[in-house]
């Protein structure tokens, strides 16, 4: 059987980012790999750095914190949040706050609510990660923060182009 092991990213609404992917493993194992610090340390860095902090207090109201130091330039990026809902092997809901927010942006505004669902079929698990932002402005901020240098200018151009269409 051919397996399409490729993540798909879409923006279903103005406030959401959706990532989906299928894994060749039962959902209990995927959930375990998603929520066990020693295991998260092995994949979350995406080969782009080293995780220096990986804390997971897996209970409702418990916190999590991930910090990575990038191979390229040694920049440190951190994220943390609180678990809101935990259904082992099925569903995980938590808040997420980026620790490098620009000045003037409050954590409350920038926090996202992330819902991960694990659905198994024939021993394979379909994972969806839905990032729900407070509003379109905060989603755009997330998008912009993920952009390479120089793209901001282009984004400004886009905004002008979009405004000229109204």
């Amino acid at each position: 059987m051919t397996v399409t092991r490729s993540a798909t990213v879409t923006l279903p609404t103005d406030e959401q980012i959706l990532v989906t992917r299928e894994f060749d493993a039962p959902k209990e194992l995927v959930f375990k790999a998603w929520t066990t610090p020693e295991l998260v340390r092995r994949w979350w860095h995406a080969n782009r750095g080293e995780m220096t902090v990986c804390e997971i207090d897996l209970r409702v109201g418990g916190g999590w914190r991930y910090v990575m130091v990038a191979h390229d330039g040694g920049m440190e990026v951190g994220f943390h949040g609180v678990y809101r809902e935990i259904v082992p092997g099925e569903r995980l809901v938590s808040t997420e706050i980026y620790e490098g927010l620009p000045e003037g942006v409050s954590e409350d505004d920038a926090a996202t609510l992330n819902t991960v669902t694990f659905e198994e079929q024939d021993g394979r698990t379909h994972v969806t990660l839905l990032v729900q932002c407070q509003n379109q402005i905060s989603r755009d901020a997330i998008i912009e923060s993920g952009m390479e240098n120089g793209l901001q200018d282009a984004l400004d151009l886009l905004e002008q182009a979009a405004q000229s269409l109204r």
Partner: protein, 116 residues
């Protein structure tokens, strides 16, 4: 999942996988609708719907040439969004490839347990 307000802004319009495919094709130059129908393997009404969304956010432009409607990419300004989605997707792909190998190890461990 409900797909409300898909056309509300350029990010949404461009992040839809089929529409990104259309943009990829148009990146190679101006094309008639029929070409897009063939390349994407979608029915014409669906392609037209996607093209309408892309036009609404200014991502593509259309002109009529005889009986044909020709579409082309509009403005370099739209590229960054396209690239952002790709980058974001690439970083999740790299992350998930690592996760694949973690899962392989976990499956092996389970196999060992059941053999024991």
């Amino acid at each position: 999942m409900a797909r409300a307000a898909t056309t509300a802004d350029a990010f949404n319009a461009i992040a839809e996988p089929r529409r990104r495919q259309i943009l990829d094709v148009l990146a190679g130059g101006e094309r008639p609708v029929n070409d897009l129908v063939l390349e994407l393997g979608l029915a014409q009404p669906q392609v037209s719907k996607h093209l309408r969304v892309l036009r609404e956010v200014g991502a593509v432009e259309m002109r009529e040439a005889g009986r044909q409607r020709l579409y082309r990419l509009r403005g370099e300004a739209l590229k960054p969004i396209h690239e952002w989605v790709r980058n974001y997707e690439r970083s999740w792909n790299e992350r998930f490839e690592q996760l694949d190998s973690v899962l392989d190890d976990l499956k092996e461990d389970e196999g060992d347990d059941s053999d024991a």
